[in-house]
């Protein structure tokens, strides 16, 4: 079945440093979604990418969808302590359900 791999598993950064998490799917995706989960909270939708090569920005967050629609990345510029949490990518292929990557847990040291 469809698998979604995400790296790194953990990332510790100093406040102000950049952060990137990468996501790879075993199959071509119809879309990829990104979620953020704060400790003790539930996953919250951030964005969806649909088009091959798509790039979307939300303030300091930049999301990319690969040309082959099998990989994606989330880049945070100049991290802040409010960015702390686990970032999940979730891929959807055709009629398959949303499959989550294992997430990248981001710690930001002030």
């Amino acid at each position: 079945g469809q698998q979604v791999m995400q790296i790194p598993q953990y990332q510790h950064v100093q406040e102000g440093e950049d952060f990137t998490t990468y996501c790879n799917s075993s199959t071509t995706l119809s879309n990829i979604q990104w979620y953020k989960q704060r400790p003790g909270g539930h996953p919250v939708f951030l964005i969806q990418l649909v088009k091959s090569g798509e790039v979307k920005k939300q303030k300091r967050l930049t999301f990319q969808f690969g040309e082959a629609k099998k990989n994606s990345s989330l880049h945070i510029t100049a991290t802040q302590t409010t960015d702390v949490g686990t970032y999940f990518c979730a891929g959807k292929g055709g009629n398959t359900p949303l499959v989550f990557g294992k997430g990248t847990r981001l710690s930001v040291i002030a």
Binding site: H42, P43, Q48, F88, N95, P97, L98, V99, F100, K102
Partner: protein
């Protein structure tokens, strides 16, 4: 705006007991997902329903069953509970019929502890 409602928020059960988790999706959403998230783990897909019919099945044990009712709320029934079933159970809903924005909206989750 209305969100996905899950009940109960916390549940403590003993081994071999039965538990029922409830989910009320966002009004007019046509798809419900159930996920299980162990401590420090990613959400694992269990089962989904589209328009009250089971649409997909993931890593759901045979001891678990789920259904979606005519009012679109869904219930996850868990029998012969084991210690390893202790986890956070999320329900999510989406509007799959609108392919432009099928993002999943998650409920707050039910934390199940089996002792």
């Amino acid at each position: 705006a209305a969100g996905v409602i899950q009940s109960p928020r916390h549940l403590i059960k003993e081994k071999r007991e039965t538990a029922t988790l409830k989910c009320y999706p966002i009004p007019r959403h046509d798809t419900v997902y159930w996920y299980q998230q162990g401590p420090g783990q990613d959400p694992q897909f269990l089962i989904s329903f589209y328009e009250k019919m089971q649409s997909d099945k993931g890593s759901i044990p045979d001891r678990f069953s789920a259904q979606q009712f005519s009012d679109y709320h869904s219930e996850l029934n868990m029998s012969s509970l084991e210690l390893g079933d202790s986890a956070l159970y999320f329900c999510a809903s989406s509007l799959e019929g609108n392919s432009r924005s099928p993002e999943a909206f998650f409920g707050q989750g039910t934390r199940l502890t089996v002792v």
